[in-house]
C-alpha cells in the first residue's frame, strides 16, 4: 500500500551527518609493518550537516564534485548507511530500518554497477525481481510492456546480459530497477560512460517515467546536459556541506559573474583585449568574457567601434559555472 503522504515531503533530511573512520596508510615498508600494529585512524566527515527536502513528483539534480558526499547521502536515503547524526525520512519511513514496505517503494540505480545477472537474459533477472517484490503477474506484464516500449528493450531482453553494450545494459538495468513502480527513485550517475545518443534516450525516458508514474527522482550526474534537461531544481553540495538549493536558473544567476559575448566581425583584430578577456578567435568570430556588470557597456562600445556583423550575449556554459562554484569554495 502506498502511504498517503498528503502534502508531506517525499524526502526530508535535517542536519544529516555521516562520519567515516578511515585508517591511514603511509607508503613504504616500514610504515606498512607499523600499520599492522598500530593504525592511525582519522574521522572524515563525508556528509556534514545538510538539510533539504523533495516534494512528491519532483526531479531534482544532486550536484557536487567527486567525494562531495553525494553517494553517501543517496546510500543513507536508501537505507544502506546509518547516519551518524541528523534525521532522514523517506515517504515517512526511516530508511536504515529497512522495512519491507519502505524498500518496496524505492529503488537505487548506480551507473557504475549492475544488479542484472551476467550470464542470463535480462528477462530472467526481471522474473527474479517479480518474485522478490511480489509483483502480481498482470501488473508485472503491464509495467514490463510499458518499460519495453519506452526504452526500446524488445530485442535486448532475450540476450545474455554479458552480450549487451554498455548503453543497452543500462537501459535493461533501469527497467529492472523500475519494474515494481517505485515512488522514489535514486539515480547515481545513470548515464556515466554512455554515448550522447544513449544519454539523450535515458533522459527522455526519465522525464516520461516521472510524468507517467508521478515518481520523485533524485539524480546525480557529472553531465550537465542531464541536469539541464531533467531538473528544474538542483541541490549542490561540496565537502559534505550544502552550497545551493534552488532553481537551476538561479544557480546560474548567483554564481556566474561573467557573460560571454560573441561578435562576428570581418577578421581578428589585436586590440580586442581592451574590451574583455579573449577566449577564442576564429575566422573573425571572437568570444569575449566580460564581467556581468559591464556587459551593456562593452556591447555598446563594440557596436560603436567595430564593423559588427553579428553579436550574441550568453551565460557561460553551466559546466563552467559549476567549476567556479567549487573553485570558490576551496579558496
Amino acid at each position: 500500500m502506498i502511504k498517503d503522504s498528503g502534502t508531506a515531503p517525499t524526502v526530508d533530511i535535517k542536519d544529516l551527518r555521516k562520519l567515516y573512520m578511515v585508517t591511514q596508510q603511509e607508503s613504504g615498508a616500514g610504515a606498512a609493518v607499523q600499520s599492522l600494529i598500530h593504525r592511525r585512524k582519522l574521522i572524515v566527515p563525508a556528509v556534514d550537516g545538510i538539510s533539504f527536502h523533495l516534494d512528491p513528483g519532483e526531479i531534482v539534480g544532486f550536484l557536487g564534485p567527486n567525494g562531495a558526499g553525494k553517494t553517501t547521502t543517496l546510500k543513507m536515503l536508501s537505507g544502506l548507511l546509518h547516519p551518524t547524526a541528523g534525521e532522514v525520512k523517506v515517504l515517512d519511513y526511516i530508511p536504515w530500518k529497512r522495512e519491507k514496505a519502505f524498500l518496496r517503494q524505492i529503488t537505487l540505480v548506480m551507473g557504475q554497477r549492475n544488479q542484472l545477472v551476467w550470464d542470463i537474459p535480462a528477462l530472467s533477472s526481471y522474473e527474479l525481481n517479480r518474485v522478490i517484490y511480489h509483483i502480481p503477474l498482470d501488473h508485472y506484464r503491464r509495467t514490463l510492456a510499458e518499460l519495453t516500449d519506452l526504452l526500446e528493450l524488445g530485442p535486448l531482453l532475450h540476450k545474455p546480459v554479458r552480450n549487451l553494450s554498455l548503453g543497452e545494459r543500462m537501459k535493461c538495468e533501469l527497467a529492472a530497477a523500475l519494474l515494481h513502480q517505485p515512488q522514489v527513485v535514486f539515480l547515481d550517475e545513470p548515464t556515466i560512460g554512455l554515448d550522447v545518443t544513449m544519454q539523450r534516450r535515458i533522459r527522455s525516458f526519465l522525464t516520461e517515467y516521472n510524468q507517467r508514474f508521478g515518481a520523485t527522482i533524485l539524480l546525480t550526474s557529472h553531465y550537465m546536459a542531464d541536469v539541464q534537461a531533467l531538473c528544474k531544481r538542483v541541490v549542490v553540495i561540496h565537502h559534505g556541506k550544502l552550497l545551493f538549493d534552488g532553481e537551476l536558473a538561479k544557480l546560474v544567476q548567483k554564481f556566474s559573474e561573467y557573460k560571454t559575448i560573441i561578435v562576428q566581425i570581418g577578421d581578428c583584430q589585436n586590440n580586442m583585449a581592451d574590451y574583455g578577456e579573449v577566449v577564442s578567435c576564429e575566422d573573425g568570430r571572437i568570444t569575449l568574457r566580460v564581467p556581468k556588470a559591464q556587459t551593456a557597456r562593452v556591447t555598446e562600445q563594440l557596436l560603436a567601434d567595430l564593423p559588427v556583423i553579428d553579436l550574441l550575449v550568453e551565460d557561460p556554459p553551466i559546466e563552467e559555472i559549476i567549476d567556479r562554484v567549487f573553485a570558490q569554495e576551496k579558496a
Binding site: L19, Y20, L80, H82, T107, R113, I120, L128, Y133, H134
Partner: protein, 261 residues
C-alpha cells in the same frame, strides 16, 4: 511458502545460467568420479589388510563415503556458491542491491546462487550410499531412516551456519575468499569416521570445525551406531549455530551500514 518460491526462482536462474556453460557438466562429472575412485581405492587398499577400521567394516565405510559425497554435493549446490558470491559482493559493492530489496538479506544472500552440477555429487553420493546399504544386507527401518534425515538436516544446518559465520567475516576483513577453500580442505577429513583421528583432532572436527556432524553422524545413523545423546547433541548444536550465525550476520550488517561508527 514464499521462501520456497524464491528459492525455486533463484534455482531456475541458476539452471539457465549454467546451461550456457555446459562444459562444466563434464568437468564436474570427471572431478566427482575421480574423487569417488580415490575414495574406493583407498578403502580397498586398507581393507585388504584388515576387516575393521575403528569398528567400521568396508561397506560401512563405503556408506560413509556416500554421505560424504552427498553432503559435499549439498555444500557445492547451494551453500558455498551463495557465500562466495556474497564475499565478492561485499568487496565490489553489489551487496547494496541485495540490501535494497524488500526481503530478508540473509535469505537472499544464501539462495542467490546455485551450482547445478553439484547435483552430480548428490546423485553419486546417494548411489554409493544405497549400494553400500544393499551390500550390508542391513534393513534400514523407518526409525533409522528418520534419524538419518534428522541428523542430515542438523549436519547441513551446522555446515551452513559455519559457512555463514566465515563469510560474514568479510564485513570486517574484505579479502577472505580463501577461508572457504580452507574449510573445503578440512571437510575432506570427513571422508573417514572421526573416531579414527587422535583425540584433539576428533574434538576439533566435532566442535571447532563441525565436520563430524555432517558426515560421521549421519553415517552412524544408517549403520545403527547412533545413540540418542549424539542425536540430541547434533540437534542442539544445529539450533545454537543457526541462532549464533544469524546474530553474527546482523552484527556484520550493522557494521556494513556504519551504525557503530
Amino acid at each position: 511458502m514464499n521462501y520456497l518460491r524464491l528459492t525455486m526462482a533463484f534455482f531456475w536462474v541458476g539452471v539457465i545460467s549454467e546451461v550456457a556453460y555446459r562444459i562444466n557438466f563434464f568437468f564436474q562429472l570427471f572431478q566427482s568420479l575421480i574423487s569417488l575412485g580415490v575414495a574406493i581405492a583407498g578403502i580397498s587398499v586398507i581393507f585388504s589388510y584388515t576387516d575393521s577400521l575403528g569398528g567400521w567394516n568396508a561397506q560401512e565405510i563405503l556408506a560413509l563415503v556416500g554421505v560424504y559425497l552427498l553432503v559435499g554435493g549439498i555444500i557445492g549446490l547451494i551453500i558455498r556458491p551463495g557465500m562466495e558470491q556474497f564475499i565478492a559482493s561485499v568487496r565490489d559493492g553489489n551487496l547494496d542491491f541485495t540490501l535494497t530489496k524488500p526481503e530478508d538479506a540473509q535469505l537472499l544472500v544464501s539462495i542467490q546462487r546455485t551450482n547445478l552440477w553439484s547435483l552430480i555429487d548428490i546423485a553419486l553420493g546417494m548411489g554409493v550410499l544405497i549400494t553400500a546399504l544393499v551390500r550390508l544386507g542391513e534393513k534400514v527401518g523407518a526409525g533409522q531412516a528418520g534419524e538419518f534425515v534428522l541428523v542430515l538436516v542438523a549436519g547441513g544446518s551446522i555446515i551452513y551456519s559455519f559457512f555463514l559465520i566465515l563469510a560474514t567475516l568479510s564485513f570486517w576483513f574484505v579479502r577472505i575468499e580463501n577461508i572457504l577453500t580452507v574449510f573445503q580442505s578440512l571437510y575432506e577429513a570427513g571422508r573417514w569416521p572421526v573416531s579414527l583421528y587422535p583425540g584433539w583432532l576428533r574434538y576439533g572436527l566435532t566442535f571447532v570445525i563441525p565436520v563430524a556432524f555432517a558426515t560421521t553422524v549421519p553415517a552412524e545413523a544408517l549403520t545403527g551406531r547412533l545413540n540418542w545423546q549424539t542425536l540430541v547433541a547434533a540437534s542442539i548444536v544445529a539450533l545454537v549455530l543457526l541462532v549464533v550465525s544469524r546474530l553474527f550476520w546482523r552484527i556484520g550488517l550493522r557494521r556494513y551500514a556504519g551504525a557503530s561508527a
